[in-house]
Amino acid sequence: MRTRLTAEPATLRPIPDETITVSPVRPLRVGIPRAMGFYEHGSIWARMFERLGCKVVLSPPTDRGILDEGVRATATEFCLPVKVLAGHVRALCKKVDVIFIPRYFSSAVNEMGCPKACALPDVVRLEREQPVEILEADIDPDRFTGESQAVDLRSIAERLKIDGQTVRDALLQAKRECSPQQNVTLPGRTIALLGHPYVLEDPCISMQLAEKLRQRGFHTVMPRNLPVTERRADVHPYDGKAFYTIGLDILGAAHALARRKEVRGMIYLTPFGCGIDALAAAHVEQHLRAERMPFMKLTVDEQTGEAGFDTRLEAFLDMIGE
């Protein structure tokens, strides 16, 4: 029987401290799943790993196959976005050396992350049968003081065998390069879409809601399109109190957008069982009722049929009466 020489696993040469870009024997392939935090910070992480000389592999946009794989791999009680993440991890795991999944404890002081987001690397590790290396980074401005210290990059530095400052510099540079495009001018009649970015912007979970509205002649605006200051200007009843980051984004956006006359209605897209949406949507609903703003809450899960979804959307648009 012919014995094959197995190649040494890719190791990285120790890097001289003064260089930022790293040139390893074979670049470490870092997989970034196109799910959960990806829509907000994925480009920053990708840029950071590229700066550090890694080869970044993104998973393909969510399709039915990825979703079905994820649903099979995950405990039933999880919400759809976590199941979709599991599908993306599966799509990636053959193509990469490590999969990067950050742990969002919090995004700003006194702003909480969802418990599931805090435990994502664990959840992914627990649901895989064959081991896949997960690279994680804790993000917690509540615990690590100072803007530049808010991200714990030690595990990345250890894995890449470089020093922490190099990673931090790369992250700061990546952040500068990927400043978000925020568009606050609303051209003509607009529907505000409320919800998590990883629900609204995922082509499969959202059933292409934004695209469908565009075809009917509506513009769309999401919380993420507003600048942070506007999203935090009025978050009644959580002004000055601790709450979930995403809940504050949605509440703030709903308050700010309800005052715009271009906004003809709001649609809240929520995955079934989302704990934060249960609170945020209740507050939004109460506020919009007082403002007399047309509002619809659409709940999706892995069994949502597109025809029923479309019917509800059409009924809502008919009700707005355009």
Partner: protein, 366 residues
């Protein structure tokens, strides 16, 4: 001012002691009131967890019966319970109630603010009187939890079925009707004594099951469909890892005395998760289940309300706990539509399986 407060497990007994001792006017919502819950279900967001709905039901009942002040707590954490206050207030106001909302922030206990808020309630009482009432309440919290823990030990070993339940029913009824703190404390002592006198079966070798999960659900018999009593009647010794006194100990004493040792479950959980806190008591759930074998438990039951975020994460670890520690784990998810018959069937099936497992391993070891 007439107070009302929500139920969580047996904390109402301690609340009664304080309020009676200080002559405060209050309305205690009836424990296990399905009609009040139904009223709350009509206005609560559908995918919020059952604790929110029962608390809202308690408040609706309290306000309907003439209360004008609500006492509630919260803080900042990752469990939604910390943020219930604002939504409860908004929902009740949306229903047309007017009331005063007394909110205790557990993360920022500001004594000056608290005395400003609660001062008017206890006007005319000496600080000695207030301190005594609070100490008695603290004693009651711990003593009541000891009583219920003891009842779990005794119920599964009693010689005549129903002895323990008779003691506990009598205690609960007399506490509900007592209108003075001394009476409640006397009833508590009497119940402790009566439990000691329940004749036990010396041959009994009950199955030992650990109860883990979400604290409100594990403590509140209305929400967990009296799981302790049901399992006890099946001859199972239930070790509930969650109770109010444990929470008081960890939350208050833990923050005052930071040198208390880091609790063992948190350390045990590190085998399955690389963070020591992802919200609520999720890591404790994993850690306790991981320690179950060492505590010579036959099985573990995890119980949590539908859509509870930290417990869903903990549930993901359970298949691994089961495999690596060799202890069976069953997860029960409850909501307002949980049927009692189906619930009992699952408990019976689980205990039957545990009994068979025990018999099998006894045969194997000879």
């Amino acid at each position: 001012m007439k107070l009302t407060f929500p139920h969580m497990g047996h904390i109402y007994i301690a609340a009664k002691v304080v309020f009676d001792r200080l002559d405060m006017d209050y309305v205690m919502p009836e424990p296990r009131n399905r009609a009040a819950l139904e009223k709350a279900l009509a206005v609560a967001p559908e995918s919020i967890c059952l604790p929110f709905k029962t608390i809202l039901g308690n408040f609706i009942e309290g306000l309907d019966r003439g209360a004008d002040t609500i006492v509630f707590g919260g803080g900042h954490g990752r469990c939604r319970l910390s943020y219930f206050g604002d939504l409860l207030k908004e929902t009740l106001e949306g229903m047309g109630y007017t009331f005063h909302f007394l909110f205790i922030d557990f993360n920022h206990m500001d004594l000056r603010q608290m005395s400003a808020e609660f001062g008017p309630l206890v006007r005319g009482k000496s600080s000695f009187c207030i301190t005594r009432a609070l100490l008695e309440a603290a004693h009651t919290v711990f003593s009541v939890d000891r009583l219920y823990t003891k009842s779990c030990r005794i119920r599964c070993r009693e010689l005549h079925g129903g002895d323990t339940d008779a003691v506990m029913y009598r205690f609960e009824r007399s506490v509900l009707h007592a209108r003075d703190a001394g009476r409640i404390l006397a009833e508590l002592r009497e119940a402790h004594r009566a439990l000691r006198e329940v004749p036990l079966d010396p041959e009994a070798r009950p199955l030992r099951v650990m109860l883990v999960g979400e604290i409100f659900t594990a403590c509140e018999p209305f929400v967990n469909l009296e799981i302790e009593r049901k399992l006890g009647q099946m001859g199972v010794d239930v070790y509930n890892t969650l109770n109010v006194s444990g929470w008081v100990r960890d939350h208050f004493l833990g923050s005052v005395l930071p040198f208390l040792p880091r609790r063992q479950p948190k350390i045990a959980a590190q085998r399955y998760t690389r963070t020591d806190d992802f919200g609520g008591l999720g890591t404790e759930t994993i850690g306790n289940a991981a320690l179950a074998k060492e505590c010579s438990m036959d099985g573990v039951i995890q119980i949590y309300p539908m859509t509870c975020m930290p417990e869903i994460v903990a549930q993901a670890a359970m298949p691994h706990v089961q495999k690596q520690e060799g202890v069976p784990v069953m997860t029960l998810v409850v909501d307002e539509q949980t049927g009692e018959a189906g619930f009992i069937t699952r408990l019976e099936a689980f205990t039957d399986m545990l009994a068979m497992r025990r018999a099998q391993s006894a045969r194997r070891t000879g």
